[in-house]
Symmetry: C2
Subunit: 119 residues, 2 copies
């Protein structure tokens, strides 16, 4: 058990759209991601997914709307809801989701992060 400084962890990597695990709680993980430009449309059929914006501004496109989030804001995307995250400038976010969730849902693409990488 040790404390984690979230901003300090972001200095440990520079690749985008590649979630890094920083901690686990029961069967859940906290992951940091740097994002810029558009991700791929995807859906997580079996779990909700939580986004916290740590730095910058992101958007999440849904089938019927776009929600913008600034630093200090969070959202829980219900399971089964198609979404596409994006950021005009690089933004830093934290995800909370069960272990084993694949970032692109059931769609494999070059953006799929298959490793359970820690920082």
């Amino acid at each position: 058990m040790k404390k984690i400084n979230i901003k300090e962890k972001f200095t440990k990597f520079s690749d985008q759209w590649s979630p890094k695990v920083i901690e686990e709680m029961n069967d859940y993980q906290f992951k940091l991601v740097k994002i810029e430009n558009e991700f791929t449309w995807h859906v997580h059929e079996d779990t909700d997914e939580t986004f916290f914006v740590i730095e910058g501004t992101i958007g999440i496109e849904f089938e019927d709307k776009i929600i913008e989030l600034d630093a200090g804001e969070m959202i829980v995307i219900p399971r089964g809801m198609k979404h596409k995250p994006f950021a005009k400038k690089e933004a830093k976010i934290m995800l909370v989701e069960p272990k084993g969730v694949i970032n692109t849902g059931h769609i494999e693409s070059e953006l799929t992060a298959t490793k359970n990488e820690w920082v």
Copy 2:
């Protein structure tokens, strides 16, 4: 589904040591708490518990050490580990834990928050 501004939610209540639910993800909850002075020693036998410091500085006393956390820092306390949170000045924290967790563990006291209160 809607986004949540964490600091704005803290303006909605002033009582201390009384967790307020702001959102749920699967069977987990995100809760905000204002804390000052000392809580009671307690343990959660069945679950880990996550603390994020949003504003201020807190300490968590364990049987063998004290860990201090500043804003932007987090810690996951493993299940079964006795702990006592404290804050010299009022601090604002976010907890992540399964639905139904009681703030004082199995020990009932005047600090026990029995309501599942949302803000």
